[in-house]
Amino acid sequence: MADITNQSLNEIIENVKTKKVSSTDLTKAYIKNIESAKKLNAFVTTTFDQALDKAKQFDNKPNFDQLLPGIPLAVKDLFCTENTKTTAGSNILNNFIPSYESTVTKNLWNDGSFLLGKLNCDEFAMGSSNETSHYGNVINPVGDQLVPGGSSGGSSSALAADLTPATIGTDTGGSIRQPASFTGTVGLKPTYGLCSRWGIVAFASSLDQAGPMTKTIKDCAIMLESMSGFDEKDSTSINKKKEQYSKNLKDNIKGLKIGIPKEYRVDNMPKEVDELWEKGKKILKDLGAQLIDISLPHTKYALPTYYIVAPAEASSNLARYDGVRYGYRSKQGKDLIEMYEKTRSEGFGDEVKRRILIGTYVLSSGYYDAYYLKAQKVRQLIKKDFDDSFTKIDAILTPSTPSSAFKIGEKTNDPVSMYLNDIFTVPVNLAGLPALSMPAGVDKKGYPLGLQLIGKALDEQKILNIGYAFEKNCDFKNEIKKWWS
C-alpha cells in the first residue's frame, strides 16, 4: 500500500476498519516519519512505546465501531496528559508530569485513539509564530526558515508534515486558525464552551477554546465530534447534547447567506490575500450562496481590546507558577519573595513576562476602569456587531490572516507587528463564536493562505458544511515536498 500517512484521517479510519492497515503498522509509519523529521522540532515529547502498546492492544481486540479506531494522535503540549510530561512550551513546567488527563484528550482516547506525543507550542500559547517556546522554533514544512504560525505551531507543522493524522490545538486569539492558514490545513475554533477547558493549561480563561486541526473538513468534523461535549468540571461548559458533525456533513449550501464584512480589508494587505478572498466569494456564489455586504463597525478595536483582556486574565492565571508546589523552582532565592522572583524570572520567557506585566498594569487600581473595564465594554460592542449581523446572514467569510507564513526572526523584535497577525481571528474569540480556517490557495511565493468562516454560536455544523462544499470546489492541493527527511 502507498504511504498511508499522507492520507486524510477519514481515509485512514476506513483503512483501519477494512483491515487494510493495522493500528500497529499505522503507528509505526508515523513513528518513522517523526524520527526523520527532527529538524522541524514539532515534538517536545514522544510517547512511542506507550503508543505501540496501545496499538497492539487495539489490534488484539479491535473495536471498529469507535469514532477513532486505533488512531495515534499527537496533541499540543498545552493539554495535560496523565503520566506524560506537559510543558506548555515553558521552562517553568519543564519537569511537570500531570497525574490527570484533560477532558478533551480523554474524550479522544475514549473514542479509540491514543497519544503519539506532545507538540511544541508558543510558551503558554502566547505567540503567533511558535518562536516563544522554551523548546525552540518549529519549522513550517512549507519551507525551511518559515514559521508554522502559533501558538499551535507544533500542531500545524506536524499535521502538514504527516507526523500525525490529525491533531488538536487551542485558540485564544487565533492560535488554531492562523497556523492552519500558514500550513495549508484546516483548523476550527469552536464556540466558547463547546469543548471543556478542564485540564488545559490556561492562558486567558474567557477566550481559550480547544479545537481540531486536520487535513480536511470531514476530518475536522470527526475530531470535533469526539473532543466536544458538556463537562460538569468546567463551569463555562455548555450543557447540550453531543452533535454528530461528521454524519451530518452536507455539501449543499444553496440559498445560504454569506456576510462579507467591509472592515476586514486592512491597509497594506497583500494583493494575493484580497484576490483569494474574491476567489472564495466566487466559489460560494457559484454554489448557490448569496453574498451580502455587512459591517462590523467595532472590528478595529478588537486587537487592542484583546491585548487588554487576554494579558489581564493571563497575569492572574499564571500566578500559580510560583515554584512552591510543582514545576521549576530556582535554587537561588534566600527567602520566599526572592524565590518567587528568581523562579519566575528564570522560568518564564520574554513574551510571557511582557504579557504578565501588561495584564498586571491594566488591572492595577487607578488603571482598571480606563483599561480593563473599558475593554470589557468594547468586547460587548464587538459581540453585538456579530449578533446584529447574524440576524440577516448564516455565516461570514473573511481571510484568515493578513499574510502568509513569514520567516523565523522576521517579527521577533516587533511585538506589535506580530500581534497584527491575529487581526482577523481575534474578534471571533472576543465574541465567543465558532470559526473555521480552510486552505484556499497560495501567494506568489507559493505559501498557503486560508479563508475564515465565522458562524453563529453553536453553528459549527453550518460552517463545516460550507467548508465542505468549498473544499470540493476549490482546487487547492497542499504540495509539500519532504525536504527535511
Binding site: C80, T86, A88, L93, F96, P98, S99, Y100, S102, R197, W198, G199, I200, V201, A202, A204, S205, S206, E232, K233, D234, S235, T236, A312, E313, S315, S316, L318, A319, R320, D322, V324, R325, Y326, L336, Y340, T360, L363, S364, S365, Y368, Y372
Partner: protein
Amino acid sequence: MSKEKFDYFIKGEKGKYEVVIGLEVHAQVLSKSKLFSGSSTKFGADPNNQVSLIDSAFPGMLPVINEECVKQAVRTGLGLNAKINNYSVFDRKNYFYADLPQGYQISQYKNPIVGEGKVLLDMPYGSKEIGIERLHLEQDAGKSIHDMDPSNTYVDLNRSGIALMEIVSKPDLRSPDEVNAYIKKLRSIMRYLGTCDGNMQEGSLRADVNVSVRKEGDKNFGTRCEIKNVNSIKFMQMAIEYEAARQVELIENGKEIDQETRLFDTKKNETRSMRSKEDAHDYRYFPDPDLLPLKLEQKLIDELKKSLPELPDKKKERFIKEYELNAYEANVLVSEKEISDYYEEVAKFSDKKLAATWMMGDLFAMLNDKGLDISKSPISAKHFAELIQSIKSGEISGRIAKEVFEIMVESGDNPKKIIESKGMKQQSDPKELEKMINEILSKNKDKVDQYKAGKEKLFGFFVGQVMKLSGGKANPQLTNEILKKLLKG
C-alpha cells in the same frame, strides 16, 4: 429591669472619646466539601490530606461552585434579616503567598451574595441594632507553619479552598462589650441556622477589627486602623482597648493617625503596625473568568426562607410569653440552641420558673466548672425536670436538692432513686413534726421561757434543733408554722 446608661469612653486630658468599631467576621461555612472542590472540610486531619488538584492549583484545574455553600450563605443572610442578591459575582483577589496556591483568592467584591441586614443586641442599657453592610462568600487560604524548622516554612493546604462567609458590619459598635454581644449574637444565629459551628478554637470564626476614635459628640469618623485576624472575643476586646487608647494618645499629642493594618500581639497585649496604606496590596480584583455570575432563583430563596428554624430573637419573645420569663432569663436561655432545647424539655415536665432559676444557677455553674457544653451535661433534661418537680412538690428542700444535684452529677442517676436510697425525702408530715418539736421544747424549757419573755432571737435556735434532729429533712415551712403555734401555746 433597671436600665443602665451607656458609658464607654476613653478619657483623655482634653475630653472624652468615643470608640467606633466595625467588624469583618470570617465565618467558616458548615459544609461537607470546599467552596469550589470536592475535598473534605473536616477539622484536624493530617496536614495536606484534604487537598484536591483544584485546591493546590494544578495547571488546567477549574473551580466549580458548591451549591450547599451558596445555600448556607443565603440562610445566613436571611438569619441576619438581610437582602439576598439574585445576582452576584465571584472575583479574583490577586496576591502572592506560599499558602495561596492559585496566586489569587476567589472572593466576591463588587457584587456580594448578601446585602444590607441587621442584628439586634441586648445591652444593659437597652436593645441596640447593629447594621450589616454585606455578606460574601470566599475561599480560605492554607496555613503557613513557620516554627517547625529553623530555615524552612511548611505549608498545610487542608484549609485551602474551604468556604468562608465574610460578614461586614457597619461601624455601629461602640465598646468591647458591644463587640462581645455582637459576636455572640452572630455566632448564636449561625449555630441556630447550622451554617457555621462558631468554634473559635478551631478557627471557624475570626475577625478583622476596625477601630477609630472621635471626640464625644463628633459627627465625623476618625481615621481607622484595621487589626487583622483576631481569633477570640477576649483578644478582640483587649485589642480594641489597647488600640483606642493608642489612638487617643496620638490625638492628644497632636499627632496623626495613619490608616494602616495592624497586628495584635496576644503575648504583649499590644497592636503593631503590619503595613501602612502606602504598602497596602493592590489586589487587582476582576471577575473570575472561570466562573459564571451566580444567579439565584427567587423560588430557591423563598424555599430556604420557609425552612429556616426559629431564631433567637423570635424564640426569646416566645419564651417570655410562654414561660413567663423575664427578658434577662429569656436572653440567656435562647443564647444557644442547645440550651433553649434543654430548657424547653425541662419546662415541659416541671415548673417553668423554677426550672429557669435552677438552670441558670446550679446547672450552668456546674457546666462552667467542668468546661462542658450543655449537650455534654452529665444530667439529662429528663432527670433535671424530675429534680425540679421534687423541689416544687415539697418532696425535698432546696438545700437537700443541692445535695441531690451533686450526686446526680457524679452518678448520672435519676433524682428519685437518689432521694429514696439515701432517705433524703423531706419530713412534711405535720404530726411527726409536732411530735419532734414537742420533744425539743420539753428538753429546753429554760429557752422556751426566755423566748416567751421576749427573747425572740431564740426562734432560730429551735429551728436549728429541729433540723439537727431530722437530719436536715424537716420541711422548713411547716417547721416554722408548727414552732410558732406551739411556742404561743
